[in-house]
């Protein structure tokens, strides 16, 4: 006998008689040999319908009827209104999605191929709070100390010397080229910083000379000259930062000198061993 028929013998009572005859005819070699003891035991202990009737004490329940408990019917579908003229107005929709309504393949999530650099989120070191004195490490003013005014959304720092002390103008610099010291000046009272954003410092491109002018080879290199607007802003911010330095009281004189002097190492001084 095959496995399938065994199962049927076990589970389907109605077909029992037929299979039991089959079983007697064939004998139970296969199942005993296979060692599927449970199935074999069941077959061996197979009782007639009458014996099962008594064994199960079915007489207890004969002629008795238990009242059916009515379960509240769960809704399977919902009627939804459909707008539009030729759409029939209504549609019955299954609450649970049928299998056929699922897509056969995974959906491909599309995302923008590139995030613009200007959209990046900027993180600054904790030490780079507005008002800290920083040591500049690169650029024209390297070695000088300056005051950090603002962290710009482009990821750059807005600094000023102040210009009257050490010649560092209002300027942007990348935080990698800066050492933050623990010296601080309270610049919370400085006004007019809002207008000094990235747009303010954007470079103005010089227009190309037309070919007709005949001055292609004699193109002059233009030297940077600060505009009147910048000069005015520098003056304004300098005045306020100097006042902020004065507010340090005991250290005001030292701080002025500190900002005036260049940074440098003496012998046997190593930046990784020092506190700034």
């Amino acid at each position: 006998m095959e496995e399938g028929t065994w199962n049927e013998v076990v589970w389907c009572r109605d077909t029992f008689v037929i299979f039991i005859s089959d079983f007697r005819r064939d004998g139970c070699h296969s199942c005993q040999e296979a060692g599927s003891s449970q199935k074999a035991r069941r077959l061996r202990c197979w009782f007639s319908r009458t014996r099962m009737y008594h064994k199960k004490a079915l007489w207890k329940f004969m002629g008795k009827k238990t009242a059916k408990t009515e379960k509240p019917k769960k809704k399977i579908t919902v009627e939804k209104e459909i707008k539009g003229d030729k759409n029939g107005g209504k549609r019955t929709v299954y609450l649970k999605k049928r299998t056929k309504s699922y897509p056969t393949s995974n959906r491909v999530n599309r995302h923008p191929s590139k995030k613009c650099f200007s959209d990046h989120r900027r993180k600054f070191r904790k030490s780079l709070q507005p008002g800290t004195v920083v040591i500049l490490l690169a650029g024209l003013h390297k070695g000088k100390r300056a005051i950090l005014l603002k962290n710009l959304p482009s990821g750059l720092l807005l600094i000023t010397g102040p210009f009257t002390l050490n010649g560092v103008p209002l300027r942007r610099i990348h935080p990698n080229f800066v050492i933050a010291t623990s010296a601080k000046v309270n610049i919370s009272k400085i006004k007019g910083l809002k207008s000094l954003d990235d747009k303010y410092f954007k470079r103005v491109k010089a227009k190309r000379a037309k070919k007709d002018d005949g001055e292609i080879f004699a193109a002059k290199k233009e030297v940077y000259k600060p505009s009147e607007q910048r000069k005015a802003d520098q003056k304004n911010i300098d005045k306020q930062t100097l006042k902020a330095i004065q507010r340090l009281k005991g250290d005001a004189c030292h701080m002025r000198k500190y900002l005036c002097t260049m940074f440098g190492f003496r012998s046997s001084q190593y930046p990784h061993r020092m506190k700034f």
Binding site: S182, D251, H254, K257, Y258, R273, M274, K275, F276
Partner: protein, 157 residues
């Protein structure tokens, strides 16, 4: 010059390496040529064997019998007032100064330098002034003594 500081029972030493670096301890017993039993009940050094190259010997020595218990060491330590003596020593002062110097910030360093330069200026002017006086007196009396340096004002930091 003969040696004066020996690895011996009661010798106070400074631990220069390991987890107890920078703490004072006292040698209780010598284990072998390279190791000693050490205890520091007042400084938080547990009784332990330690390699001799991990300690620096100081000039202090406590008096107690060798292999004395922690209680004995503590008693001797307190009676000798070792903590006070150590704090008053130059060695401890130098260690303190080193620590302070390491903790200076950039601004502090600048302030220290400026204070030092002002002090040095004062000192040189005073020195030159005395030198000039000396020269004058020398010309007046040929057997004048050389001028003494004025006592230097203490460091700002």
């Amino acid at each position: 010059m003969p040696f004066k500081r020996f690895v011996e029972t009661g010798r106070v030493a400074l631990i220069s390496d390991g987890p107890n670096k920078g703490k004072l301890c006292c040698i209780v017993d010598v284990i072998n040529q390279t190791r000693a039993l050490v205890d520091g009940p007042e400084t938080g050094v547990p009784r332990q064997g330690i390699r001799l190259n991990q300690i620096h010997l100081t000039k202090f020595r406590l008096r107690f019998p060798y292999t004395g218990s922690t209680r004995v060491v503590r008693k001797a330590w307190k009676e000798a007032k070792l903590d006070e003596k150590w704090a008053a020593s130059k060695w401890a002062g130098k260690m303190e100064a080193k620590k302070k110097r390491a903790e200076l910030t950039d601004f502090d360093r600048f302030k220290l330098n400026s204070a030092r330069s002002t002090r040095n200026k004062l000192r040189t002017t005073a020195f030159l002034h005395l030198k000039r006086l000396n020269k004058k007196s020398k010309t007046a009396k040929k057997d004048a003594k050389p001028a003494k340096k004025p006592a230097a004002p203490k460091k700002a930091k």
